[in-house]
């Protein structure tokens, strides 16, 4: 490049990424008085224009399937925009034998625009599981350290739920839950018979107005993005208050390339590609918060090589990119004929389940370590492309008989998604591919991924549980899985659950971890990481709530350090 445009201003902090971790840092740091530049690789989001809330499928020519039907391979055309496993011009590679699917969402708010809003606390034991069963490591912090931040996050973003006193699923600061759906009541009944715990779910959806935000209107479409901002997204709940301080400068279309380092060994700012002008620019800052998503943050650290940091920034331990995990995922579904008797009724509710099954076998001997939770779906959802595939396969034929069967069987399916804890293994990590760059010349990630016997046994247990619940409901379990092949027991590819974490983990020992207990790099004090990368383990709880609690805590620490002049 002929010339690198350097911003004349030096910000207190440059945050890379505007999702759950970056958004939370922006709110806390700007409210604490610091000036912040936030780099976001994607465009700004305009809920009124971009979100397809309350649209019918027939209002789109592709009916939700997208151009060529290709959107069906992701989550469909209705999903909040700019998230996919494959993005043109931004490749990643997999090592031979590995198949990792990396979901990225290039937009202000990132994946929080579409996420499932499942907001679960990690439990006390999750922070010490390593010393309990000898697999992996403990966290450098305890539940008690994080609990006040869980309280603050829940109180601010709004999470519904109920106090249940289940040890694997700690209670939080909850709004009242919505009433259960028919499918959920029937599942709960079956679970009671099977001695399985089934309780109201915990979702970041407002059942009451809080902090000036509108309550949920129960259209069931959180994944499309919410025009009224009644569920949590960083773009609608964290970025606006940061903006209001007047201290946040949001730079969109900014693809971070490298964190720059000065002669004193401290970070001086960030180099990025301005996508609009295809020029390289620089932001100068006194501290850098990396929150680009776990793997993207690892990529940025690894690509930030210098004389002081030849292996990449904050990587003297060699563990950046290591300890990668995703949630174990296996799904199943069945047909429950009793549901045919339900009269037509509005089943939409909030986007996502109103009841769920937390890990319930924590006091038993299982043939796999740790645990999983089960998410519940099915019933009289809005008809969509792909929903009638199984009916067509089962019934075959055509004409009036097929149409009558579709009418009769609509709303009689029940689905389950098991989401469990993966144990980090040495064959699962990401690194810089030596041969491949993206369209801006930035070296890309190469993934190594392997499920171990632990995860496969967990997936088998999930399948057995799904079947037992469906059969107890008098239904017929439909999912067929094999014990071999690419998807043993229905286990999905790594990355498919979009809970990838661990690639810059916290730890007490700088030789085996990247960050200290405040998400601050051991090697370089003015660099923090506040997305999924710091997580030491990946329990059966979706990571977003914990990412935000950690980010809040790290940001307060950053504020303290800044005040003391330690950065």
């Amino acid at each position: 490049m002929a010339q690198v445009a350097r911003s004349p201003k030096t910000y207190d902090v440059c945050i890379i990424g505007s999702g759950a971790g970056g958004g939370m840092a922006a709110k806390i740091l700007t409210e604490g008085g610091l000036s912040v530049a936030m780099l976001e690789a994607g465009p700004d989001v305009h809920p009124d224009r971009d979100f397809k809330m309350l649209m019918w499928p027939y209002e789109l020519p592709h009916r939700g399937a997208g151009v060529g039907g290709h959107a069906s391979e992701n989550f469909g055309e209705f999903l909040a925009p700019n998230g996919a496993w494959n993005i043109s011009g931004e490749p990643y590679t997999s090592a031979p034998g590995a198949n990792f699917q990396w979901f990225r969402s290039r937009i202000v708010g990132g994946r929080t625009n579409h996420w499932g809003r499942i907001a679960l606390r990690f439990s006390p034991i999750d922070f010490q599981s390593g010393s309990r069963d000898g697999l992996g490591d403990d966290w450098p912090i305890s539940y008690e350290d994080l609990s006040p931040y869980y309280d603050k996050v829940e109180g601010y973003i709004g999470v519904f739920g109920t106090k249940e006193n289940v040890s694997s699923a700690p209670d939080g600061v909850f709004l009242p839950p919505p009433k259960p759906r028919c499918t959920e009541l029937m599942i709960k009944k079956a679970c009671d018979k099977l001695d399985i715990i089934c309780i109201p779910s915990r979702l970041a959806v407002l059942t009451r107005s809080i902090n000036g935000r509108l309550p949920c209107h129960y259209c069931g479409q959180c994944g499309r993005g919410c025009i009224t901002g009644s569920n949590f997204s960083s773009s609608q709940v964290l970025i606006p208050p940061a903006m209001e301080t007047g201290r946040l400068t949001l730079v969109t279309g900014a693809m971070a390339r490298e964190i720059t380092v000065g002669p004193d060994g401290k970070a001086t700012g960030v180099s990025y590609i301005d996508k609009a002008t295809l020029t390289e620019r620089r932001i100068s800052a006194r501290a850098v918060v990396v929150a680009a998503s776990a793997c993207e943050s690892a990529r940025l650290l690894l690509n930030s090589k210098s004389a002081t940091f030849p292996n990449g920034l904050a990587n003297s331990s060699g563990t950046v990119g290591k300890y990668l995990t995703d949630s174990v995922g296996s799904d199943g579904w069945g047909i429950v004929p009793a549901l045919e008797r339900m009269p037509p009724h509005n089943h939409d509710g909030t986007g996502g389940m109103h009841m769920y099954i937390p890990w319930w076998k924590f006091d038993r001997q299982n043939d796999f370590p740790r645990g999983y939770h089960i998410e519940i779906g099915g019933g009289r959802d809005m008809p969509g492309v792909g929903m009638f595939r199984h009916l067509c396969h089962r019934e075959e034929g055509y004409g009036a008989a097929l149409k009558a069967k579709a009418r009769k069987s609509y709303g009689t399916t029940v689905g389950f998604s098991g989401r469990g804890e993966m144990i980090p293994n040495p064959d699962t990590y990401c690194e810089i591919d030596p041969d491949v760059v993206d369209q801006w010349g930035i070296p890309v990630l190469r993934f190594h991924f392997r499920w171990s016997e632990y995860e496969l046994r967990q997936a088998r247990d999930m399948q057995e549980t799904f079947r037992s619940i469906i059969e107890t409901m008098g239904g017929e379990y439909q999912t067929k899985t094999r014990i071999d092949g690419p998807y043993p027991f229905g286990i999905l590819e790594g990355g498919k659950i979009i809970h990838e974490v661990g690639t810059a983990r916290m730890g007490a020992d700088p030789k085996t971890s990247v960050l200290n207990s405040y998400c601050q790099a051991h090697d370089i004090k003015n660099v923090f990481v506040t997305d999924g990368a710091p997580l030491v383990t990946n329990p059966d709880k979706n990571p977003t709530l914990t990412i935000m609690a950690l980010s809040w805590r790290a940001s307060e620490h950053l504020l303290d350090e800044a005040k003391k002049g330690n950065l």
């Binding site: 020519p61 039907g69 028919c182 902090n211 479409q221 009224t228 067509c392 034929g397 149409k403 609509y410």
Partner: protein
């Protein structure tokens, strides 16, 4: 409620989020409903012009149209797949994806060839009885097990059946046929109605 609150004002308020004293804090439910009405008005269906096929020839499109209506016909509850826009949907997706060009376009050729061999006519020129016979032969997987020569036809019909159902059941009349109720704004979620035998 007053229509003096413009959509822009409401969205501006939403963008600001927790703005103290905003109108949204006073009348959240009404504001939400107002937004929904605006969304509905702005995102309403464009008037349907006569559809000109983007990918299929006139003959293929006529064959496709016949088959779609045979798969989901009009009955006493609702109209059929053609009224539900299935041929347009399938043509649009085929124009953008080679998989469907081969699967549906190639399949129609296959069907014409099959009918030519058997009845000396392309499918559309066959008698109603011949048409039913041809469709019956490819509408069930078991037929391809008995006669492997039918397997391509069975695969074609399975794809067409899937796409026809996708289109019909995402159309206004298909959604009404299933009696889906929702996609609307509620103040409270009513929960599960009592089961019929319990009332």
């Amino acid at each position: 409620m007053s229509t003096e609150i413009s959509r822009r004002d409401i969205l501006k308020n939403l963008a600001i989020g927790a703005a103290g004293g905003s109108v949204l804090q006073v009348i959240p439910a009404e504001a939400a409903e107002y937004i929904h009405q605006l969304v509905r008005t702005e995102k309403g269906t464009a008037p349907a012009a006569k559809y000109a096929p983007k990918y299929f020839s006139a003959h293929q499109y006529a064959t496709l149209t016949f088959l779609c209506d045979a798969i989901i016909p009009k009955d006493e509850h609702s109209g059929g797949a053609v009224e539900g826009g299935a041929p347009e949907f399938i043509d649009l997706l085929s124009s953008e994806n080679e998989k469907f060009q081969l699967g549906i376009g190639g399949g129609i050729f296959w069907l014409d060839g099959y009918c030519g061999d058997r009845y000396g006519n392309v499918f559309l020129q066959c008698t109603p009885q011949q048409k039913s016979e041809a469709m019956d032969s490819i509408a069930y997987r078991a037929n391809a097990v008995k006669d492997p020569a039918l397997s391509q036809g069975v695969a074609f019909f399975a794809l067409l059946r899937n796409m026809t159902c996708d289109a019909f059941y995402t159309s206004k009349i298909g959604i009404a046929d299933l009696q889906y109720i929702g996609n609307t704004s509620l103040r409270e979620f009513p929960g599960c109605p009592p089961l019929p035998q319990e009332t």
